[in-house]
Amino acid sequence: MSKRIETDRTMHSTSPASTRRAGRRHPLAAASLLVVGLLATGGAYALATTSATAETTTASAQLVEEGGKLFAANCATCHGLQAAGTAAGPSLIGVGALAVDFQVGTGRMPAAASGPQAEVKPVQFTQEQIDAMGAWVAELAPGPAVPPERYVSGDGDAALGAQLFRINCAMCHNVAGAGGALTQGKYAPSLAGVDPVHVYGAMATGPQNMPVFNDLNLTPEEKNDIITYLKYLEQNPSVGGFDLGALGPVSEGLFIWIFGLGGLVAVTIWLTAKSN
């Protein structure tokens, strides 16, 4: 309401301004306006940044405190009040904020039930809450942090990423990232549609049955190459048509028996049917 009044006011003020044309048309008007504008922007920026740094420190302290509360309410039952682990859940000391981001950000944690492995579920927390818990866990001991944007942007070398993927990931996740079976009911999930930060997080923290690919094993740039390859697969569907789940010869064999041969048997029945 007040905004509208303001615009009305400016509308009113412009019409008398049009009468004072000489002031606006003054040769120095443009230059002075520029100086005023620059000063105002620079001053405002300086002001904003100083206050922002101040806020970060208070915010991170607040964040950690907030995260601690969330942890105590949602995670401590299994992981213990000081995240030192219990019989029901492992210690989280030193897992880092990235592990929290992966586990909680994909909905795997809090786990719904104990089973072969925690399943992907609808995410239970907002990103701010997840970051808060991550900050609290990171405060316990140093661990992998959430990577900067440039390592998860997916603008690396797809060919190198594909090669690294085949060598390091395909034996469990399948060459096309379609997933695969592990022992005792565990499995490597499909990688289609997984957020790049979570792909990075999985490699860096080794959740559940996955091994850790630390920065000496796969550098952050190489992790980004792998993300680039997965992004390429997602954005470029198979050129050969529907990919039947990209599962390899099993789905092809099922398809030819059921639809190929099944369809042709229907044709043979049609061809030999007696006309009534």
Partner: protein, 538 residues
């Protein structure tokens, strides 16, 4: 021809130019080749009208499609193992070193116009070829169409099946991608498990330590030259025997052991078959244009270290892969410093025995029954319960092995543990055949009993009638003679008696034969006789 009384006089119409040309050409060829005899014989060959008789045709036509598309592929495929750097249009492989074989396969997929479609047509047609052969074999087995005089054609058909598997496997290996290399590695492992000679055979085949650079060019020669040549020759023999032996047919009014009722090749069947060829071709091209098969670009060049999850052979080799997955671990012994891998040898020998049993079954059954007559009437599966049950046991055994090849996908897609899946499939493969045998035999006998009941008393019409005395009866409708014929005309076998030979002895072989014969024919339902039928009609 205005009235019927008018005598029909052949009017000498001057043949048109086209007719004269055709007549002259036909005469020219016939005088030099005597082709008319063959055309007459072939043109009068009769094909019975039943859908199950067209499964072999599906196989034949998909083989034609394989030949056509395969020829196209040879124009662009190069089996060389020279290492090059990929510079084609598939981004995730650019700059990756690979063999020319893999590069040319990628070029067929991405650079050659229509190449990917042809590759997919070739591969889908190959899968269909083997599936159609499998179903065709089952049809022949379960209807007893392999009996005298067709035992040799069964063996030829079996050889075609094995050759088709060999062709499929050599073709699967040619692109030199990760999947094909993994397949070859398994074959290499199986060869090396052969005691004493294994390593030698492996070196002979691969020309060096696995994988070497010789195997792909060698498999290429086998795939496009030797195996197809043998396959075409055997298909020729299969066709000739099919004409010589004539078709089998199901029992029916007018269908006897001495005739074939159906449509002649010229003109009815030829037109139908020609149309059917294009339908098969069309279905294959439709599938190939809509569905990806073997996306070799996903797999990358062959490198012995990585193995992808979900690495399986094409479906027709699946039973061998499954056997390796089902064999329990730890069956290795060390003899004089040499490891003997029974965990590979047992599946290997088991599969060979299974295949040999399938190939030789007609001779076994002929010996057990002692039946030397010719059979041209296809049996309904239920009318030979023991054979049908043996077939069901074989199918169950094969299916158990086959399913085991996809044990990992069964585990992930049905949320099961892979150990549970393997355990269940071990049970299916070992105990399943016996269960399937027992159930199938009982079901067949029950169906025969039901047929007998229906032939004698008719079927229940669902119409309930109240008699004047207050009694309720259900009216049974009688079958017409045509339908009844199908139910009552089958042969009844009896177990053979043990008879002493010319020297008055009963040999162990005789005893064995009698025992097998009793096993085959002890439980049986006799067909309804004429007298029984007449006594029912009061």
């Amino acid at each position: 021809m205005s009235t019927a009384t008018e005598p029909v006089t052949p009017v000498a119409v001057a043949p048109s130019r086209g007719m004269r040309l055709t007549g002259w050409a036909a005469n020219y060829i016939d005088e030099r080749t005597s082709a008319s005899t063959a055309v007459k014989a072939l043109g009068r060959k009769i094909f019975p009208d039943h859908w199950s008789f067209m499964l072999g045709e599906v196989a034949l036509y998909s083989f034609v499609v394989i030949l056509l598309s395969g020829t196209f592929l040879t124009f662009f495929f190069d089996p060389s193992m020279t290492e090059v750097e990929y510079e084609g249009s598939y981004v995730p492989l650019q700059g990756i070193p690979m063999s020319v074989a893999y590069q040319s396969s990628l070029d067929i997929s991405f650079e050659v116009r229509g190449g990917l479609l042809m590759r997919q047509v070739h591969h889908w047609a190959a899968l269909l070829f083997l599936a159609a052969i499998g179903l065709h074999m089952m049809r022949v087995f379960f209807t007893g169409a392999f009996r005298k005089p067709r035992e040799l054609n069964w063996v030829i058909g079996f050889l075609l099946f094995v050759l088709a598997m060999a062709l499929g496997f050599t073709g699967y290996s040619l692109p030199d991608d990760l999947l094909s290399g993994n397949g070859l590695r398994i074959i290499d492992g199986m060869i090396k498990a052969v005691p004493l000679a294994g390593a030698w055979i492996s070196y002979l085949l691969f020309g060096n330590e696995f994988p070497g650079t010789d195997i792909i060019p060698r498999l290429y020669v086998l795939h496009i030259l030797l195996l197809p040549a043998i396959l075409v020759a055997l298909i020729g023999a299969h066709m000739v025997l099919l004409i010589v032996n004539k078709h089998t047919q199901f029992a029916g009014p007018g269908n006897t052991n001495d005739n074939v009722v159906g449509a002649p090749v010229m003109p009815v069947f030829a037109a139908k078959a020609g149309g059917f060829f294009f339908l098969v071709f069309g279905v294959i091209v439709l599938i190939a244009s809509l569905f990806t098969i073997n996306p070799i670009w996903n797999y990358g060049p062959y490198d012995p270290s990585p193995v992808s999850a979900g690495t399986q052979p094409d479906w027709y080799i699946g039973f061998a892969d499954g056997a390796l997955r089902l064999i329990p671990p730890g069956l290795e012994i060390v003899v004089f410093g040499y490891t003997v891998s029974f965990n590979v040898l047992i599946p290997l020998v088991g599969l060979l025995v299974f295949l040999a049993a399938a190939a030789l079954y007609p001779f076994l059954e002929a010996w057990v029954t002692g039946d030397k007559r010719e059979h041209h009437i296809a049996e309904r599966p239920r009318n030979n319960p023991t054979r049908t049950a043996i077939g069901a046991a074989g199918v169950t055994f094969y299916s158990g092995l086959w399913a085991a090849a996809s044990s990992d996908l069964i585990a992930t897609h049905f949320r099961l543990s892979i150990e549970g899946v393997i355990g269940a499939l071990q049970f299916v493969t070992v105990a399943g055949p016996f269960i399937a045998y027992f159930i199938t035999k009982r079901v067949c006998l029950a169906l025969m009993r039901r047929d007998r009941e229906i032939a004698l008393h008719g079927y229940e019409s669902g119409r309930i009638v109240r008699l004047p005395g207050g009694e309720y009866i259900e009216v049974h409708e009688q079958l017409d003679d045509y339908e009844r014929w199908k139910l009552v005309s089958f042969e009844e076998y009896q177990p053979i008696m043990i008879r002493p030979d010319s020297r008055g002895r009963i040999t162990a072989r005789q005893r064995m034969r009698a025992r097998l014969s009793r096993w085959f024919f002890e439980d049986r339902i006799s067909p309804v006789t004429q007298r029984e039928l007449e006594s029912q009609r009061h």
